[in-house]
């Protein structure tokens, strides 16, 4: 099987596993399409964690987790359909035709808007033609994926082996599990298959991020009660802004988007969580999107886990503070506790399994805190010029477009800025308070660890761009 065929097959398997959970959490929307394999990848990560911890193979655990998720989701869907008004009877042909026509008309605009966003994603990740396998991809993700293909005993022994500590065995298992699954499903053990698989997940997350902007436009069209022509204009503007921000994201990701690194996936997933949890209205279905992408971010990398916990706290705080309690969370406090506990599952499991401490968080610190902070600022600043652009856009927007933003039903921009600030503190804090030689650490990682902040900055600019220009379309 060629790498493309193997990846297509694995995407189908992941999508099948993620179908019912996505249907239960998100419902039938365009955003559900890229979320299908992403939800499947979360189940695959759980299967990977289970393979490390318990007897059995990755494939067995993947089937078991997928079945468990499908049963729970089917139960939710059945109970939800019972409580809803019944659809037109199959014998009432006229009502059925009208319902089909209505849904077709409603879906036509979004599907048309999806095409340019999809094309932009393809263009943004065109470095996929280069068979590049990144340094960390070989030293971490492919290595862990190979461990998983050998089954529980080998995988657990490798995870505990102090010899392998340089390959960060405590890193979350999503990327390596999906790589291993792609080999198992396709019968191909090629590195290229595994790397393209990760790029395919990045493409899904990037499309979801672009689609979030289109979703902002769709909500705007509904909330402003625009005419059919006005709605089409808003949707076209949303698609244009989405295309631009996706192309910019391609530049931010660079080769990391297609060389098997994990940083783009958690960063893009976290941006989608900000869009659906802190910018769009926190409806139950938008929070369903947040749940899936936070699962992806939290199980992809340590920084992703930290930021996913911050995002859980921020999203549930927003739900708690809203007076109208838009159907999203019945019990935000309980959801917060469950979300945080779920995200802490893998770090706790590594302690229980006796995984050696990660070299990034243990050891002696070189240099003073002040020197490390200065070195971190100097190294990160060239990658984060967008924060200045976003700050100018946000300040001008705050003064001139605040009412417009509220009218479009978008959350206060301070939520996104709170996340951006938290990311700088978490990611920068790791360099300042972490161990070892900070210059070497920064030189080998700062271009990747700044990806989330840079992407979020551009998405903040994109939403203000839509708010401002859309005022002329009404």
């Amino acid at each position: 099987v060629s790498p493309a065929g193997a990846v297509a097959l694995t995407l189908l398997v992941l999508a099948a596993a993620g179908a019912l959970p996505t249907a239960a959490l998100v419902g039938p929307r365009v955003i559900a399409l890229p979320l299908l394999p992403l939800a499947g990848s979360v189940l695959c990560a759980l299967a990977g964690a289970s393979t490390f911890a318990l007897p059995g193979t990755l494939l067995l655990w993947f089937v078991l987790w997928s079945l468990a998720a499908a049963v729970v989701s089917a139960g939710v869907l059945v109970s939800r359909s019972r409580s809803r008004a019944s659809p037109p009877a199959l014998t009432d042909m006229r009502a059925l035709r009208r319902a089909l026509l209505d849904s077709g008309r409603r879906a036509a605009g979004p599907l048309l808007a999806a095409l340019p966003v999809l094309a932009a994603v393809g263009w943004a990740l065109r470095t996929i033609r280069v068979p590049n396998v990144g340094f960390d991809t070989r030293a971490i993700w492919l290595l862990h994926a190979h461990w998983l293909t050998h089954g529980h005993a080998f995988a657990l022994a490798a995870l505990r082996n102090p010899f392998d500590v340089v390959s960060h065995p405590s890193y979350p298992p999503l990327v390596s599990s999906v790589m291993a699954l792609s080999w198992r499903v396709s019968g191909s053990g090629a590195d290229r298959t595994a790397v393209v698989m990760v790029a395919a997940l990045n493409a899904c997350a990037l499309f979801a991020g672009g689609w979030g902007v289109v979703e902002v436009a769709r909500r705007a069209a509904i909330r402003t009660g625009a005419t059919a022509r006005g709605q089409a204009g808003l949707l076209a503007l949303g698609a244009l802004v989405a295309v631009l921000v996706v192309l910019v994201a391609g530049g931010v990701l660079g080769t990391f988007g297609t060389n098997g690194y994990a940083d783009p996936l958690w960063s893009l997933a976290a941006v989608v969580a900000v869009l659906y949890g802190l910018m769009l209205e926190p409806t139950a279905r938008n929070l369903g999107v947040v749940a899936i992408v936070l699962g992806v971010a939290g199980l992809t990398k340590v920084e992703g886990t930290a930021m996913a916990i911050v995002l859980v706290l921020a999203t549930s705080s927003r739900c708690l503070l809203r007076r109208d309690r838009v159907g999203g969370l019945r019990n935000p406090a309980l959801a917060t506790v469950l979300g945080v506990l779920a995200l802490l599952g893998w770090p706790v499991a590594t302690v229980i399994l006796g995984v050696p401490k990660d070299v990034s968080i243990s050891g002696v610190r070189d240099g003073s805190l002040w020197h490390r902070a200065q070195a971190t600022f100097d190294a990160a600043a060239p990658h984060l010029h967008v924060v200045e652009v976003a700050a100018v856009a946000a300040l001008a927007g705050l003064v001139l477009l605040r009412q417009r933003r509220a009218r479009l039903g978008l959350g206060n921009d301070l939520w996104a800025w709170g996340i951006l600030g938290a990311a700088i503190l978490v990611l920068g804090g790791a360099y300042v308070f972490g161990p070892g030689d900070v210059e070497l650490w920064l030189a080998t990682s700062v271009d990747r660890t700044t990806i989330f902040v840079a992407l979020l900055g551009w998405w903040i600019v994109a939403v203000w761009a839509f708010c401002g220009v859309s005022s002329a379309l009404e």
Binding site: W123, P131, L142, A157, N161, S167, G254, A393, L400, G468
Partner: protein
């Protein structure tokens, strides 16, 4: 109108960044980048093939490399499937990454195995696979 200007300026910033991103990505997807990636992939495929030829499935491997870069290079080639040991006394074979003066090599480097034989002697073997 002022709000529209803010929106247009933000849109302009996005457009400019999108053009710049497209330009910066072009060399990353060039024929030169493909050649470099192919070369690197051939190097690691060669080292992996050498490692498979030198290490038996039931071997426990000690990696006799003091240099971290070279240590990581060898781990990339065999850390996914070989049983590795921290102590030499626990291993049945030791592996080194050498620069041979002549003979087959993976871009100038070759894996060498040192195995303790049952009669007490020591046997050296070099990888025979090569890559450009």
């Amino acid at each position: 109108v002022a709000g529209l200007v803010v929106g247009l300026l933000a849109l302009g910033a996005l457009g400019t960044a999108a053009v710049s991103a497209t330009r910066s990505e072009t060399p990353l997807a060039s024929a030169h980048a493909i050649r470099e990636a192919d070369h690197s992939n051939a190097y690691y495929a060669c080292l992996t093939a050498q490692a498979h030829a030198l290490v038996r499935p039931d071997d426990v491997v000690f990696l006799g490399e003091a240099n971290l870069d070279r240590w990581v290079t060898v781990i990339k080639a065999m850390g996914g499937w070989a049983h590795m040991a921290m102590r030499q006394s626990a291993a049945s074979v030791a592996i080194l990454l050498e620069h041979p003066a002549h003979g087959p090599s993976c871009a100038g480097e070759t894996l060498v195995s040192i195995r303790r034989e049952t009669h007490g002697g020591v046997r050296f073997r070099s990888g025979r696979q090569s890559s450009p």
